[in-house]
Symmetry: C2
Subunit: 219 residues, 2 copies
DNA sequence: ACCTGAACACCGTTCAAGT
DNA sequence: ACCTGAACACCGTTCAAGT
């Protein structure tokens, strides 16, 4: 399958016309995927970017799918640690949620790619372990603690997926303004005003995580 | 763009070789998309299914994108109402969340398709209105009420997205069992056991919605 | 008004042939 | 060991030509 020959050409030469390198292929692919998502990665575009024939790429990475797989595995391995902050258990659990969200947002397409390739559990293990420590500190154990860990994980991942969709989505029609005219607001103009402006994901995340965690940790 | 000529050929004839119909195209496309998702819909497969030339489809629906758009708009328009159940505000809000989840789960690819085409606000309006009523009944108003509505909506949509990913994902490697051996469990074997078995999305949804709503509605 | 096949510009992938 | 172009089976889409 994969020849893992790491040659000595560590300098990613453009001028120095050295041999094509598995490393170079991965780097160029990572650049394309990080910006535009995996479906924007075509072997032909990648070859053009690298200045080689399309088929050379196949020699180094096998095929498109194993290229993406290598990319995903490397990214997951390079994810930083998660350090809880704050004093109360609520604060510390919420800070783990926030850190996880930030991690995922740095790699907008990673969650889906990881899932499709079956690496989800490995990816979330560090966050889960951090959560377990804090939930233990809050006095919860056993299956109840497990339930809390999973609820937080689902919530964060779900929120990030929604956020990402919002960012990629075009302008909504009809916009929220038209939909939430005074008519639909049931005599609450302040609410109508609030709902007629696009949601601020940051705020939604804060309020929902705070509410979720306090609801979960209450005995 | 779109000729909305609804002919009299309402019988979806296979034996009766009547003219091809915009309606037939939409129906066949809906079938393919509902099962396998939009990326499985190719014009050539669709033509084969309908027994016509590929290019005939273009006459009726313009192109692939407007076909998908028509599909999405129809599905959104056909979504049922949302009726809250229960007595306490917490129960009623949670029941709206549950109903919304059920709606979305019936159309596994709808959320993403709706988003890509800018119909999100319209799609969620009924659920939002139901939520507003219940949140009002719980004594919350103005921007705080709006925050609650949005937190619930984000949470449900996010959960459904995560659920859908889990279903489509292959077997995870390494599995949860290996990861959550006694080693990583920090002296809590019951928790390790709970986390080493795949998550039950139904349960996660229940506990997280309950916690979220109670956290949100507390004054 | 509706259908058709040929043609074009894209894909991923294989393979025999080069050095 | 590494690179190459030709070829294959797929895409969506356009268009001139049919009835």
């Amino acid at each position: 399958m994969l020849c893992n020959t790491v040659t000595t050409a560590s300098v990613k030469g453009k001028d120095t016309r050295t041999h094509l390198d598995r490393e170079q292929v991965l780097a160029a692919a990572a650049k394309l995927v990080k910006q535009q998502g995996p479906q924007s990665l075509t072997m032909r575009k990648l070859a053009a970017e690298l200045g080689t024939a399309v088929t050379s790429i196949y020699w180094h990475v096998g095929n498109r799918e194993s290229l993406l797989e290598a990319l995903v595995e490397r990214t997951v391995a390079d994810l930083g640690e998660i350090r809880p902050r704050g004093t109360t258990p609520e604060q510390r659990v919420a800070s783990v949620a926030g850190a996880l969200r930030r991690q995922l947002r740095e790699h907008p397409h990673l969650v889906a790619m990881v899932h499709e390739r079956g690496l989800t559990e490995r990816m979330f293990l560090p966050a889960q372990q951090a959560l377990v420590r804090e939930v233990h500190a809050a006095g919860l154990h056993g299956s109840r603690a497990a339930g809390v860990v999973r609820a937080v994980q689902f919530h964060v991942v779900g929120h990030v997926l929604v956020e990402r969709q919002r960012e990629r989505a075009p302008a909504q029609r009809p916009g929220e303004e038209e939909l939430w005219g005074a008519l639909t607001a049931a005599g609450d103009p302040a609410l109508a005003r609030a709902l007629s402006v696009p949601a601020d994901p940051e705020k939604v995340f804060d309020t929902s995580v705070r509410a979720l965690v306090s609801g979960l940790l209450r005995t």
